[in-house]
């Protein structure tokens, strides 16, 4: 077992970056994620590992610094919270278009606008569905513990380089700020320049040797035909990612009649709600997406064969619920329960929302059964009357 440490979620991200051989972090302060930049500047890894840590003049500058570093084949990352991620979206679109392996962390706070500094999950749309311009996808990882915050940094870089695609860790202010036990991994040394060139020489900018053509990092095509081709290539890549990188977790789904769908902090709250519900004899379960792209569409679709209804629980006005509905495709009722603007729901109010859904579904089923029975009785009576007439 590795070294155990009690850490804040944000600190876990910073420590993971140092330990997984990250080459550069570019940040800008914004609550509730400033500890990432603070921790890294305090630890000051540059003299020891050579990892660059730099406070940029804006979120926009930070994401463009990431563009520059990752276009050199280096492991570069940035982090921010919702309003800052809005500012980064232009750069993220360029990074996706130029196919660069960057890591972005979004520790979500309530919005819209300046919103609040408290936790929220109202960035599902802007993090999972694009956010910036153009047809692109990020690989999105949704941690629900400080341990996962830590683990997903290294996993994020692995996936980013595997597919030459930006990866986003979609966290929230609760996971960023809370303290939990973390099992640390051993230090992985940063790659040397020679190793970076060997690994990324076919595309990255390292300085052009005589032996190859110049490498160009761009997202521009002035002609539509090659740009359509490039889009075809991107879509094929996203399909491959969907086929190979889906991660999700089932919780008490074996006999579940009613299923929560929740990620991040909400999934922790649903766990407790399930526990409370099961004590009352309710057969509750949960599907927790760990990757939000790719999304566990098929597992939810499969679960819809057995389950009677789904409740999507999010700290938002209902964003991910759209994907649950698409997966269930009208076969079962799908409802949303959420608190937002920085509010976190309590497990008992989540359970209450589920009980309301159960009551609604059961009432409908009962009505349907009554209607069926009535019809049957009427038919029987008609038949009897006919017989009597004869």
């Amino acid at each position: 077992m590795g070294e155990l440490r009690l850490m804040k979620g944000n600190e876990a991200i910073a420590e993971a970056a140092i330990r997984c051989g990250c080459d550069a972090y570019f940040g800008y302060p914004i609550t509730p994620q400033s500890e990432i930049l603070e921790y890294l500047t305090l630890e000051n890894p540059e003299p020891i590992t050579g990892m660059v840590v730099l406070q940029a003049e804006s979120e926009i500058a930070a994401i463009n610094m990431v563009y520059g570093s990752s276009a050199c084949g280096k492991k570069a990352m940035t982090s921010s919270s919702s309003p800052g991620i809005s500012l980064k979206q232009e750069g993220i679109s360029y990074i996706a278009g130029a196919e660069l392996p960057a890591l972005i962390v979004n520790v979500v706070r309530g919005g819209p606008g300046l919103g609040t500094i408290q936790p929220s999950q109202s960035d599902y749309f802007q993090s999972v569905k694009g956010g910036g311009h153009g047809d692109y996808k990020l690989i999105v990882l949704a941690p629900n513990s400080v341990q996962e915050q830590y683990d997903f940094v290294s996993l994020g870089f692995e996936l980013a380089f595997k597919y030459r695609n930006p990866v986003l860790i979609l966290s929230d202010g609760a996971i960023g700020q809370m303290m939990e036990k973390v099992e640390l991994t051993d230090y992985i040394p940063r790659l040397s320049d020679e190793e970076v060139i060997k690994r990324t020489g076919s595309w990255a900018t390292h300085g052009k040797p005589e032996s190859r053509k110049h490498n160009i990092i761009t997202s521009l095509n002035l002609q539509p035909e090659p740009q359509e081709q490039h889009n075809h290539h991107l879509q094929a890549k996203y399909k491959e990612i969907e086929e190979h990188e889906l991660r999700y977790e089932k919780f008490h789904c074996e006999d579940a009649e009613y299923v929560f769908v929740a990620y991040g902090t909400s999934s922790r709250l649903c766990q407790k709600a399930i526990q409370l519900g099961r004590a009352k004899g309710l057969k509750l379960g949960m599907i927790r997406p760990i990757t939000l792209f790719p999304y566990p569409t098929n597992p939810i679709k499969k679960a819809a064969k057995k389950a009677k209804a789904f409740l999507s629980v999010e700290m938002s006005a209902g964003q991910m619920v759209e994907d649950v509905r698409l997966a269930v495709n009208g076969k079962r009722p799908v409802e949303h329960y959420g608190r937002y603007g920085g509010m976190i729901p309590m497990p008992d109010e989540i359970l209450e929302a589920m009980e309301e859904l159960i009551a609604k579904v059961e009432k409908k089923a009962q009505k349907k059964a009554e209607k069926k029975a009535k019809k049957k009785a009427e038919k029987k009576a008609k038949k009897l009357a006919k017989k009597e007439k004869e």
Binding site: L54, A56, N64, A71, H206, I216, I217, L220
Partner: protein, 253 residues
């Protein structure tokens, strides 16, 4: 009779294109200064023998395709963000020669913050700033460096001081920052101007070698298409109107 074959001989050669310019035809309008500026920069990189260590950053604007012509590793940056992108390159490859090549809209409007802060941080890079007082690529709109009274497609009656304010002398602003080692304003419209600019470019890349921080080279240039003039007339107009507002010469270092 002397044939063409008699003339094309090594000993008669007076000029050859640097190998660091590709054979791709420039997308620039005939008479535009971009081509000359490209050539000077690439010549210096070749002469210094640093091409295998050089990474350039192209902007958004007429020179967005600079990477098609410059035969070194290149990145294309979002509009105005070239100094941030160059920071990202230079920080992970501190031994490399990193430069940005930007126009006035890119550097002095949308990218003002990135310009000022990269300069302030003393990033070890060269910034080339091509100032022709207009947004050329998008069809000749008003730029931050458009002169007062100058007509563009978005100041069709001339830049009005009361409505549109003053042109920005960003080169003078940058010269005040401690992180900047060398600031100069040059042009490329005459042979002597080309020689002076080339000298400045060489000094700038030597500053990178000696880790001296930012070198900032403004090249006041023409945009004959955007200004709706012949190339010759545009160069005359530049001397008469641009140079009094943007005087040539070294400003710092």
């Amino acid at each position: 009779m002397i044939t063409i074959e008699d003339i094309i001989k090594e000993e008669n050669k007076v000029f050859s294109k640097t190998k660091l310019l590709t054979d791709k035809t420039f997308s620039y309008c005939p008479g535009c200064g971009h081509g000359v500026a490209h050539r000077i920069i690439m010549e210096v990189i070749e002469e210094m023998g640093i091409n295998e260590q050089t990474i350039g950053v192209a902007p958004v604007g007429c020179s967005v395709l600079a990477y098609d012509f410059m035969d070194v590793d290149m990145q294309q940056a979002a509009h105005g963000r070239a100094p941030a992108v160059a920071t990202g390159i230079s920080r992970v490859f501190p031994e490399k020669y990193v430069f940005t090549y930007q126009g006035d809209g890119d550097l002095a409007a949308i990218g003002t913050a990135e310009t000022i802060h990269a300069c302030s941080r003393a990033e070890n890079i060269v910034i080339f700033f091509i100032n022709n007082g207009i947004y050329g690529m998008t069809g000749g709109q008003m730029a931050p460096t458009t002169l007062v009274g100058m007509k563009t497609s978005t100041s069709p009656h001339g830049r009005d001081l009361h409505n549109m304010g003053f042109p920005i002398k960003i080169t003078e602003m940058v010269a005040q920052l401690d992180g900047v080692q060398f600031v100069t304003r040059q042009s490329v419209h005459t042979p002597s101007a080309v020689r002076k600019t080339k000298k400045a470019v060489k000094k700038a890349f030597e500053n990178i070698k000696n880790k001296k921080g930012v070198s900032f080279i403004e090249i006041v240039s023409n945009c004959n298409s955007g200004w709706k003039m012949t190339p010759v007339k545009s160069n005359e107009w530049m001397e008469e109107n641009m140079f009094p507002v943007y005087p040539l010469g070294d400003i710092k270092g």
